[in-house]
């Protein structure tokens, strides 16, 4: 079934999503409504990574971070 699903493309979009979210979060250092909402959004992005990117990147480099 998953042959029809382009997880590589999904994974790339998630990665770009993560980068944008991280940048936006950093802009919220003095903006609680931005920073705290970004924490939640980034938790959701992490779920996308667990569901999709981690499968795609089964040879991902060991990052000491979640």
């Amino acid at each position: 079934m998953h042959q029809e699903i382009d997880i590589k493309e999904m994974s790339e979009k998630i990665s770009s999503f993560r980068q944008n979210a991280q940048e936006l979060k950093e802009m919220g250092a003095f903006f609680p409504a931005l920073e705290r909402n970004m924490v939640r959004i980034m938790a959701s992005i992490k779920m996308l990574e667990i569901n999709i990117s981690d499968v795609m990147d089964s040879d991902y480099t060991q990052e000491n971070t979640f």
Binding site: M1, H2, I5, I7, V39, R40, M42, A43, S44, K46, M47, I50, N51, I52, D54, V55, S58, D59, Y60, Q62, E63, N64, T65, F66
Partner: protein, 444 residues
């Protein structure tokens, strides 16, 4: 339509085992390193054993990583960073959720979670509920006291994530909950097997409502092994006129396994999220083949505040020797969680699992759902008393029931019992986890 999709994650849940194992190794390496680098408790444990993250090069290396037991967590908690102690891997200000274990086996263990951990919990539950047929448009009634115990909290959030409408039945009493289910025409329900059977009794006896005629078409159980015990599952399914699905999870672990709609007699381990190992209780050897029981050692790959790395859960499980017709490649544990290593005890020299008694009692027509087992010392031997309730309205002969019970107990457990028959409603009722097995022998 998305609702027609059988899998919550069509990639992970159908991935071949070979590729899954590569991912599991990478994920284990990552969480092991995380715990090693961020928790003094874990680092001391691993340093003492002479193992570090670089030593994990294959799945076979993992068995050298020391296990963590609940008692070890008890020892380090109630200290700084208060109250979690040195297993905490994130700054205290990142913790957004507090839960604790029920304390069934001793001092409760505190469980901190970040918001990401909490998302992860509800993600685990999304796998469960989707596999059991929950979809947007389901109206899910959750009759539990929302409190410090995790119970169905993550089930609530998982159902919301899927798109269900969730009705929290928190502070309502049992009759009010039943009436609310009726009023709202709820389609799904979550509860412990014990409570679901009690609810059905209350509906019939106090409200004169037949729960099988309500709109519930699926039920998800947790907290006890009942929904994987065929006779208990059948009783709940008959009482509610609904499909009953089991799942297994724990506060310190997460929701790690689930029964799917194919109901093939086992629970799928969510192998994209957890590494489940089965350890021989005598030799410590890791069992990879089906058909041999052992205790579960489990790792949650992506839980970060208080990681679960090779946690000795004391659940007794075995791998199934068949795959599930649902198409998931996640392996099955046969018959669900078969019991707890703590509960399986020697009586008269024979190993006895309380779940075996439950299976017998609930397979006999004419007996109620409740029972109680008391093991006592009688001279140099053990005496087992089994208390059961006789259903008066069944019109069955007590002698026949007694004979049936004795025969089945002997066959299933190889033991003799002193039987006590009680009238319906006389034995204690439980709202959460039942404590029906009482071992009163002095332990040295």
């Amino acid at each position: 339509m998305i609702t027609d999709q059988p899998y919550w994650n069509p990639v992970l849940e159908t991935l071949d085992q070979e590729r899954l194992k590569i991912i599991q190794l990478k994920k284990f390496q990552r969480i092991f390193r995380w715990a090693y680098d961020h928790s003094l408790f874990h680092r001391r444990l691993y340093d003492k054993a002479g193992i570090c993250p670089e030593d994990i090069r294959s799945l076979e290396d993992i068995c050298h990583v020391p296990t963590v037991e609940k008692s070890m967590m008890r020892d380090i908690q109630r200290k700084e960073p208060f109250p979690y102690g040195e297993a905490l891997c994130v700054p205290l200000e990142d913790v957004t959720e507090f839960r604790q274990t029920s304390g069934t086996t001793g001092q409760p263990v505190y469980q901190p979670d970040t918001w990401q951990d909490w998302e992860w919990w509800s993600e685990c539950w999304s796998y469960i509920l989707w596999a059991q047929g929950y979809r947007p448009r389901d109206r899910v009634f959750i009759p539990f006291g929302y409190n410090i115990f995790v119970a169905f909290w993550a089930g609530h959030y998982g159902a919301e994530k899927i798109g269900c409408e969730v009705v929290p039945g928190g502070i309502l009493d049992t009759p009010a909950r039943i009436l609310k289910i009726q009023e709202l025409e709820a389609t799904a329900l979550m509860g412990t097997p014990t409570y679901l059977l009690n609810m059905a009794e209350v509906a019939l006896n106090q409200l004169e409502i037949d729960p099988a005629k309500l709109s519930i078409d699926k039920i998800t159980c947790a907290g006890e092994c009942g929904a994987s015990i065929p006779s208990t599952k059948k009783r709940i399914e008959t009482a509610w006129g609904a499909k009953v699905y089991d799942h297994a999870g724990a506060t310190e672990i997460g929701a790690w396994s689930y029964e799917c709609q194919a109901q093939s007699g086992g629970l799928h381990v969510n192998e994209g999220f957890f590494l489940v190992e089965i350890q021989d209780t005598e030799t410590g050897e890791i069992i990879s083949e089906p058909g041999r029981k052992g205790k579960m050692i489990i790792t949650a790959f992506d839980r970060i505040a208080q990681p679960c790395v090779r946690f000795d859960a004391k659940d007794i499980i075995e791998w199934a020797d068949y795959s599930c017709p649902c198409g998931r490649t996640y392996r099955l544990i046969k018959g669900g969680v078969l019991g707890r290593a703590d509960d399986i005890t020697k009586v008269k020299g024979v190993l006895l699992a309380p779940s075996a008694i439950e299976e017998v009692v609930r397979s006999i027509p004419g007996l109620g759902n409740e029972y109680e087992v008391i093991v006592e010392k009688e001279g140099d031997s053990d005496r087992i008393t089994l208390k059961v309730e006789l259903l008066s309205h069944q019109g069955l002969n007590k002698k026949e029931i007694e004979k049936n019970l004795i025969d089945h107990l002997r066959l299933k457990t190889n033991l003799r019992y002193k039987l006590e028959f009680h009238a319906s409603g006389e034995l204690p009722r439980y709202d959460v986890k039942a404590r029906r097995f009482k071992d009163l022998r002095t332990k040295f």
